[in-house]
Symmetry: C2
């Protein structure tokens, strides 16, 4: 969920499927984007991976015939009865290849994006018969969609209780830990640390293109999503790695009642894609160039470099700094290149969102993340022409 | 939702993808099904259409490349921003060809099955700031999943209030009208009929293979699902036809928060399938045999005939009778052949579910539908070998 982000009120400006031509960002060159077009970097639509997938050609093409996959059921052995066995295999294979999370002994629960998983976790860990709802917290700046995810139907079982830093209520609680954090890319741990707390680790961005992989995580409940790992946001596939079998069962029950499972077509496509990523990511510097994480880190590193240079020139903004850390996956010292830039407007500019709006750039106000309107979150995962347009306009703010 | 039915506690016995060989049910011949196998007719997995789709060969095959449909967004014009334009076209085309529902002037909202749509309707029509939750009712016997759909997270905005027949509370309410009804196949209208009531028409089975199409419906909120229309339950695609634009917008908001849209792959596949159905259903008695509704009605009629004969012999059970009505689609007098048989156990057998369990047939107790345990619901939409096994065991009960 820290990763599954979108724009409801606004939408990206029209773009044809061909407006990213396979070249990496050359820096500052705006193509196909009128100078008065609105650039929507409010949501986190991860379209930047398109050139990579084009390059792979038919390697990830799926073909499904009319008579295939009619049934609701995928497996009669798995507690997650709607999980396609091939998707389960690919997920385990990918985490093994990257080394970012343990999967042995975990039950895998698939969801319609990690949004649905997040709700299913809230349901699964909250006792159904308690008099008062469980408090749900996350440390500010927190992912902007957590509050409405928890409160949309005013559940009597759980409710949003705000910033984890100021949380002082008694009793059990649920803490979302987004790491790396959306919006600010920081590696995080829980902050409440009290008995009776249930910690849910939202790891949408714990992949090598965004952050150094420093260990293979083994938390009780870990959420991932294809959207931010491979860029296939339209497929709506997320997965949870869950240690406690009873919690996994209750999550499955939630999915059963609320959507009777998850699209078979999406599961099968993502299964194929994750397997190609898992296979390709063992090759480094290959002339084939089929390592998604190399492609992604190179692109993100270049974009961050350009952004940092531009911000330095304008002297209007401040960007977070990230420590150099050893990445077990790449085997080198590297720093984070988060999917979002968490930008602080310098003195005198109180509403950072408005500052960008003046240049027809839509970003998300710090206010939405339980933080200061002097901050804004800007997507770094757009197509080249949108990123380049953003940099051009930023430069002209000087 | 009346249609999107499944088995959580139990699952169908293992069956290979090839265990339906393309022949229609010949009556009473059990193939590939061990005599001691559990036959699960508790859920409504509509696998009976597989032979039809096999016959069509590659006509409905979809091919999706790795770089296609990455984005969350499908359209920047439609209020339902995640609805694939091709799916919208196919839905309008199919309703036009069948004549079962109006679509002009309606907003189409796509959901992950009609389960998700049903929840989104509850959210969309309930005022968010009222002190007490809206009452949700449906006339018994009602679809067994309505109560848990309404109550799963103990919403403060809406809550299940039981059988519409006995509903006497003041204030606004929501009434689900399932027509034809799940479990009993009866055509229904609302029963409360008071000011301030919002009626949601769940029309999962209002297709010509199940019931005579007597008019093109134009209710305010109508729900359909691919699962029961074409048998593609695994795709999890439902759609709502909604007259009020504000209600449609609130439904879209619910989908956005709870799953950030709906699988693109499933939408594109179902778009293709519905278009093939819409085209084929204009041909009657064609040697190609590409009219799904002809295939479906023939199969259902044959199964109902066999069931009625068998039940008559046993003298242990009673089946509902359906009136002959003119079907505008087929242009003939016909009776309903519902997707479920609503079976009453005759005198002396108080628990109908248990009676079937004695023969290793899993069915759903009338109790689950707010009705009498002397009734049980049995799926008529299984594969041939399961249906035939059911008939064999029923015969041997004499």
């Amino acid at each position: 969920m820290g990763g599954t982000d979108q724009g409801r009120a606004t939408r990206r400006s029209p773009a044809t499927p061909n407006d990213t031509d396979g070249k990496e960002n050359g820096g500052g060159v705006t193509r196909n984007l009128p100078s008065d077009a609105v650039i929507n970097l409010d949501h986190g639509d991860p379209t930047m991976y398109e050139p990579f997938w084009r390059k792979l050609g038919d390697k990830c093409t799926i073909v499904i015939k009319g008579y295939e996959h009619l049934s609701y059921f995928s497996s009669n052995k798995n507690p997650c009865w709607f999980l396609e066995p091939k998707l389960e295999d690919s997920i385990r294979s990918l985490h093994g290849a990257v080394g970012n999370a343990e999967t042995d002994g975990y039950t895998i629960v698939v969801g319609t994006g990690s949004s649905q998983l997040l709700q299913s976790v809230l349901y699964a860990v909250s006792p159904p018969d308690q008099p008062n709802p469980m408090n749900v917290v996350s440390a500010a700046p927190y992912y902007s969609c957590y509050p409405e995810t928890a409160d949309i139907v005013r559940s009597g079982v759980y409710k949003w209780a705000g910033d984890a830093h100021g949380f002082d209520k008694d009793g059990p609680y649920i803490e979302f830990v987004t790491s790396p954090n959306n919006p600010n890319g920081v590696i995080r741990g829980p902050v409440v640390n009290r008995d009776g707390g249930i910690v849910v680790h939202d790891l949408a961005y714990y992949w090598p293109q965004y952050t150094p992989i420093t260990s293979s995580l083994d938390f009780d409940i870990m959420l991932f999503t294809a959207s931010k790992c491979t860029g296939h946001a339209g497929s709506r596939i997320g997965w949870a790695l869950v240690k406690d079998k009873d919690i996994a069962k209750r999550m499955v029950n939630f999915m059963t009642v609320t959507s009777i499972g998850v699209s078979k077509e999406s599961q099968l496509r993502v299964a194929k894609i994750l397997q190609v990523v898992a296979d390709g990511c063992k090759r480094f510097g290959s002339p084939d160039g089929d390592n998604l994480f190399e492609f992604g880190r190179n692109m993100m590193a270049k974009r961050w470099e350009i952004l940092r240079e531009t911000v330095k020139k304008t002297q209007m903004f401040t960007l977070p700094k990230y420590p150099l850390q050893h990445c077990n996956y790449f085997g080198d010292l590297t720093q984070a290149h988060p999917g979002f830039a968490w930008i602080k407007c310098n003195d005198g500019m109180e509403d950072c969102e408005e500052v960008f709006k003046g240049s027809k750039i839509l970003v998300r106000s710090g206010r939405r993340f339980g933080s200061d309107p002097g901050y804004a979150r800007v997507s770094m995962m757009s197509k080249d022409d949108e990123f380049n347009g953003f940099i051009d306009r930023l430069s002209s703010m000087i």
